[in-house]
């Protein structure tokens, strides 16, 4: 089953040509590789490529189809695009059209909200300041727009990934 994978803007196609035990012959966008791939820990793989020993951590993202990959020097975010994932992605992008929802990646406390509902904001303008782990982080609008709604107030403790402020892009 050839699948598509996305890494940044690149969409790659993978074909497994041969597979015996942990040995794979694969074609990735036209390039052929012979590899020995073993899962050694719960999220770590050991790969041998022509004798080279390579280690990769494959950490599942928010969705099972998303991966955060650490190699020795690099970090990648990869998304596997299968039918289900494609459908979800479509639905999501539709929902978000024209809207710019500010949320934090982690729990924290609201320190300051320098805007009010109805305010016109510029791209890059700070709309909320959240404190977590003894540090304050400023969150900025991703586009020019109007503050549509503010779901929190100063002093609130918030969970990660919770919508804080919605901005309607103009």
């Amino acid at each position: 089953m050839p699948l598509e994978l996305k890494i940044d803007t690149r969409v790659a196609k993978i074909h497994v040509l041969e597979h015996v035990g942990s040995n794979y012959k694969v074609e990735i966008d036209g390039r052929i590789y012979d590899l020995d791939i073993e899962k050694v820990e719960s999220d770590t793989y050991s790969i041998l490529l022509n004798g080279k020993s390579i280690n990769m951590e494959m950490i599942e993202g928010d969705e099972p189809s998303q991966y955060k990959v650490n190699t020795l020097n690099n970090y990648y975010e990869i998304e596997v695009v299968d039918a289900v994932a494609r459908y979800r992605a479509k639905a999501k992008s539709h929902m978000e059209t024209g809207s710019n929802i500010i949320s934090t990646p982690m729990p924290g406390k609201i320190v300051k909200i320098p805007v009010q509902e109805g305010d016109i904001v510029e791209k890059g303008q700070t709309v909320i300041i959240v404190s977590a782990m003894k540090m304050e982080s400023e969150y900025k609008s991703a586009s020019d727009g109007i503050v549509k709604s503010i779901h929190v107030k100063v002093g609130d403790a918030v969970e990660g990934h919770q919508p804080l402020i919605e901005i309607e892009a103009q």
């Binding site: 590789y33 099972p64 990869i78 540090m135």
Partner: protein
Amino acid sequence: MIKKVLVANRGEIAVRVMRSCREMGILSVAVFSEADRKAMHVRYADEAYCVGPASSAESYLNIDKIIEVAKIAKADAIHPGYGFLSENATFADKVSKAGIIFIGPSIHAINTMGDKLTARELMIKSGVPVVPGTEENITDNTRLKEIANQIGYPVMIKASAGGGGKGMRLVREEKDVISAYEMAKSEARSAFGNDAVYIEKYVEGPHHIEFQIMADQHGNYVHLFERECSVQRRHQKVVEETPSPLMTPKLREEMGKRAIDAAKSVNYVGAGTVEFLVDNNLNFYFLEMNTRLQVEHPITERVTGIDLVKAQINVANGLPLPFKQEDLRQNGHAIECRIYAEDHKNNFMPSPGVVKSISEPLGLGIRTDGYVYEGYEIPFHYDPMISKLISWAPTRSEAIERMKRALYEYKITGVKTSIPFVSKIMEAKDFVDGNYDTHFIEKNMDFLMTDDDCSDYCEDIALLVAYLDYTEKMKLDGEHTLDTTHKTSQWKEFGRRKNVIRL
């Protein structure tokens, strides 16, 4: 003699203190907030008591509750660690009044050194150099010029109520001093509602170098040499080393002597640190004294061989220091990297969360002081420091190479860490050359943010492995969904999966 110590702290420092207690045969008592029930210090201690909700103010800073626990647990002494209540004179006072030994200096020492102005005046009196300048509010141009000339240019004009760079002006020549003064005043007025400003000597190419001192109750004082702490980001230390690449034997002797003078001026007892600013011409100025153990104390322990926590406890027991100044040596070179749960690629945003897996670097010349474990959720209420990695070698260059090797081995998944960032510091030319000051990170930021390039095949292989992992995962899901006769434990099943790639 102290038989049971309550450690009024959390994280790596609580565990570190308990380690020495354990080696001394002393029982340790942990206190914890509701968010820390599963924290390592609770597991490591002989006893553990909850002292309140997650918020530090209601738990780790809750003086009365902590003293109450110490009494219940019959602790003889309290070790405050660093941060939290470690430099709180009220706490030290209440602990003493409860008949419990406070492992730290006197209340007088904490108070004096805790107040910048008092400390500065005392240092001047004790012959310890301070940054030339005046704390007085300058109100007229004549006085301004007079003082500036007396200090010597460049000078810094600072708002008395200041902070965060607001109301600050650097002046290099006399001709600019009046306009800078007026701008600083006006900025201070609008920022703080207070236009008082003062002048200080501006230290060029400043190095942050501190001296570890140790004193007993019998009037013996030693210093345990310097720590170079100039690798800082927003006044937060990131990498420390000893000896300092800037140091000369003569300067070390002179600064060590002054550090001891500073400690003597407040009849200091226990472990403390005297921080100095040092310029490129090796002039040094007292900054402040920290009346507690420092985060970076392990590098001093490594080159001197002395366990500073044990020394603190022995001093608290009234024992004389078992070493004199002439017994102490700096043996080899030690470097510490602080490992934070943070995403340096995203404005150094803290990255709390569940640690999925962790493997610490091992082998010759490596020490790790940490507290997180697999499955532990780093809470967002407290400091994002996960651990400190210390390397040692006979020479500085070997200590750097060893640190790079250790950082290569250090694997933490689940949260983002500063491991890649400090790895880049170890490769930065200015650091490798030992040619850096407190502007180092700022100056090298572009380099520090650049990933080393992986060959082309890296990306392809990452894609392939993601593909295999996903395919296998979907297959396993399918199996479990359909298998309604499935009886064995999920945990066991997890442990048994060995050859998971069966495409």
